[in-house]
Symmetry: C2
Subunit: 241 residues, 2 copies
């Protein structure tokens, strides 16, 4: 590798790899050469090659699949957490395929932190739903949902592999009035990372949505753990005056 340049070698390698991606030589989801191959091609150590790859991963250009290799990240989808239109149709509108899988659903005692956030008494029963969502068959987010059973008794009997809010609207006549949304980058904890088939500790984007109805009553708390490179949050807000 050229050492005359002042730019560090691993960044030079990064640049060349990034070029191949941005120029379209390597397409979305395509596998990159193995680390050992890259280190040979560029006459660098595997450690240095890895540095370049990790850099590209941080930038969102590539992602890794546990012990299978490195792949080109597909385009980000837009995502509006303030709207409750179906995830699937929303994603499909953007030209991607989407799918939801329910991992678990049960009635539990509300976790303390949820009770605090939702403003309901400790120990209240709530529905807890875990879902995994795919975009183009790639698992992109894990969702943890807490619902107030008062408003939607028996909802666990339904299939939850489709739009939850469609169900809440049609079956239970529920409509969220106010949504409080929090967003920040965070690393994915082991269980979530496993469920998304990425390494523990890889960075993700955390979104929490708390919905109340007109009477200020708690409807839903939704926690989403996204791959950081899978989407772009898009919100439109019209003035309050």
């Amino acid at each position: 590798m050229n050492t005359v340049e002042k730019r560090p070698v691993y960044l030079q390698v990064r640049d060349q790899l990034a070029d191949k991606i941005q120029s379209g030589i390597w397409l979305a989801n395509e596998k990159l050469p193995a680390e050992r191959q890259l280190s040979e091609q560029f006459s660098i150590t595997r450690v240095t090659a890895r540095q370049a790859l990790v850099q590209l991963e941080a930038e969102g250009l590539i992602f890794r699949s546990n012990r299978r290799g490195w792949f080109v990240t597909p385009q980000r989808i837009n995502y509006d957490p303030s709207r409750d239109i179906g995830f699937v149709s929303y994603v499909e509108e953007q030209g991607f395929s989407a799918r939801t899988e329910t991992l678990s659903k049960m009635l539990i005692e509300v976790p303390d932190w949820v009770a605090e956030q939702a403003g309901i008494p400790e120990g209240t029963p709530v529905y807890e739903i875990f879902r995994r969502r795919y975009i183009n068959e790639r698992p992109c987010l894990i969702e943890k949902i807490y619902l107030n059973p008062k408003n939607c008794p028996g909802i666990l009997q339904h299939s939850l592999d489709r739009s939850l809010w469609h169900l809440l609207r049609t079956e239970y006549k529920l409509d969220p009035y106010e949504r409080h949304i929090e967003i920040y980058p965070q690393t994915l904890e082991a269980r979530v990372a496993d469920a998304l088939a990425v390494n523990t500790g890889s960075t993700g984007l955390y979104i929490r949505r708390l919905c109340h109805d007109q009477n200020g009553e708690f409807l839903e708390l939704d926690e989403e753990f996204w791959l950081h490179n899978a989407m772009k949050v898009v919100v439109s807000v019209t003035s309050n005056g």
Copy 2:
């Protein structure tokens, strides 16, 4: 270091360091021991110690200052990009100090991508303002602002080290009606990273806000590049019905 555990050594080290932070033994902005000290303490290589540190950095628990060392990340502030109340007062409400610094301000021909986003003709003149904002004297974000001169002629004559929207409201009677907001994690490009005194390629959070008035006329395009661990986006949305 204990090798009986199945958890990788670098994560065990991570855990012990994280403990010291979360238990409050190490306070916000406190300097961690040097990498070489840590590797000696834990009987590991510096490379492995670094792995633990990089992990903690990704989690937002610590940050680095170029060749000065590693430090404990202070608490995230809340930030609502949909509101236009002054940054400084907003941050101070949360018990932190804040400060804004204008890096440059000029009248330029609108960059093509801005014209496209804003829906104004190519080549139109716009004001371009670069600012740097501090929280507790730590540079936390870089802001690039594009303003429509039609609406706020001569604004560059004013001091821009205070609330821009306060100025726009009081001096020019401007009020944003619709805001289109985009948020996603992204690595910081060299110039931004330098201005924030972090390494090029460190992860950040990108926020773009596009404001129009009631007539659909372009008011402002605001791009913000945040340290990923400095804040938490908080938005409240009331129903559209």
